[in-house]
Subunit: 126 residues, 6 copies
Amino acid sequence: MTNSRYETGLNIMNKIFGEAAASHTRGNLKETAPDFEKMLVEFPFGDLYSRPRLDVKTREIVTISSLAALGFAAPQLKVHINGALNVGCTEEEIIEIMMQLAVYAGFPAALNGLNAAKEVFDSRKS
Amino acid sequence: MTNSRYETGLNIMNKIFGEAAASHTRGNLKETAPDFEKMLVEFPFGDLYSRPRLDVKTREIVTISSLAALGFAAPQLKVHINGALNVGCTEEEIIEIMMQLAVYAGFPAALNGLNAAKEVFDSRKS
Amino acid sequence: MTNSRYETGLNIMNKIFGEAAASHTRGNLKETAPDFEKMLVEFPFGDLYSRPRLDVKTREIVTISSLAALGFAAPQLKVHINGALNVGCTEEEIIEIMMQLAVYAGFPAALNGLNAAKEVFDSRKS
Amino acid sequence: MTNSRYETGLNIMNKIFGEAAASHTRGNLKETAPDFEKMLVEFPFGDLYSRPRLDVKTREIVTISSLAALGFAAPQLKVHINGALNVGCTEEEIIEIMMQLAVYAGFPAALNGLNAAKEVFDSRKS
Amino acid sequence: MTNSRYETGLNIMNKIFGEAAASHTRGNLKETAPDFEKMLVEFPFGDLYSRPRLDVKTREIVTISSLAALGFAAPQLKVHINGALNVGCTEEEIIEIMMQLAVYAGFPAALNGLNAAKEVFDSRKS
Amino acid sequence: MTNSRYETGLNIMNKIFGEAAASHTRGNLKETAPDFEKMLVEFPFGDLYSRPRLDVKTREIVTISSLAALGFAAPQLKVHINGALNVGCTEEEIIEIMMQLAVYAGFPAALNGLNAAKEVFDSRKS
């Protein structure tokens, strides 16, 4: 059931999200769609986040920018804003990303992204 | 007609895209919607790209990630891939961004982004 | 107020969603936009779902795939997941559809689709 | 094959797009999907554009705003920009709509909308 | 911190949304991203809504049509439905816009738009 | 460089698209992003299309429905319409899918899907 792609992915997920949050995400999925839990660990994290050429902080900037632009991915956006903060992004950088997205994805996408960021920032303080 | 937001924006556009490309973009717009040419220089470039907290290379990564995720913005994506290369992104980094977007925006968005990147890379070689 | 397109559509809605759920959907709409309630019964269900060439189960697969890909249509997605189960889709097939959509619409759309499916599956058990 | 919804829709299509353009659109569709040609005339034009509460010019403003925001609907956007001009919109109003959409759908959607508008404006002059 | 673009924008926001609602929107933003609060007042409202060529009611029709078509912008859609009613749109016109969007953005976008409209209509009655 | 996921994926790609078309798609990608060519074969085709629970024809219906709903994925839509015809879909079924998508993704997405289908149908006749 595990292999090196899975192990690599799991290590990176734990590093980005923390073991508790990564385990929570995977736990929900294991119940509904166990094979997809495996794919989620292996493909995005085992295959892609583990590659050189972009460091993990830059990868989180790419992910956050695309999720906020899509507009409908609030749950994943919050998970990755938390991850971005864990791997070296500052709150100021994340706010700055959302502001810039107003130009490309529109003000509503930016405002919803700022609201998601505020929720994550607050949750880390409590 | 010009002011300091416009001048700031124009300087940054010239730095990112080169004077010829920036002038071409603005020229088309001046003919159809001259007030929007002013807004395009002033708001995205004069107000946002000129801010601290994210360097211009990181801003281009944010922009490229959002444009490729939107899927319908091929003309703007090519302009900004060219800009990203001008301000320090490598071809390898841009390809890596598109690959990662397969996870978040889907393989078609990633493949169309890679095609846009290839077109820009080729145009700079000829 | 009724006609054959409306009657045809109502029969198909009742068959797919059950009379109670179909009546609930229509009831809400009748209050806010009664003419649109008529259009909703007549066009999607009276005109399209009633046609030959695709059986109703396949039509629900088409609908679920498009709704999950759009990303913003969670309420309608849940209604149609329920409908799909009523007309012969299995839970396993619906999970499989969401997994495959990770490729085309991205992992966030797939994960949100799986969450919607889990909610519907659970609601049918209680 | 015709009925009053079809006839109502055809009259409105001819009024908005002109007989030649409306016939061209329908002709293409009649070849590939004749039943969909019927639905296109009957539902959007026979059922909706024919209703009171919004005049046809306002309906074209709604349509153009949504098509430009969607981003991927350039062919339909051009058809409706032409229609909007035929039913009383000015070029200035259409440009103004696209400019405002920069706020809500982002600058790329606005720029692509302005390009579509320019193409239509030019085609009417030649 | 204020200037004429800001003052112009604030006047228009107050006129469209009412002082309390406009102040509420700005207050949230001032806390998280104060520079973006300034941009939100200045660019959409100070630069665009203040322009001639489209009256404020027509601008709200453009905005509502694009927000409902995007699908993911429910919070902003509700704010602007409220604004539209304040500047002269009737409930019937807003319902009619949503119905027409079923053609261009699909029935789920239209249904979600109608639900947003119903929420706003109800909130104004209580 | 190859492994069993790659071999499984390649076999399925060849079965769906034909060896010439599959080789063409992969060839373009091998030049620009060779690691992504590997991922494209392995993840969508090696991991997902090879699974039980949905037959390949149904998987193509899921894919076509999502691609047409996204709206911006015309190149991939044409590739998969061709694949769908190769694995047992009829032209009539594909037209019927596009017609139904008018309800969920809007008429423009449906019309663009029908145009893509017509192009593929014609290319197979010449």
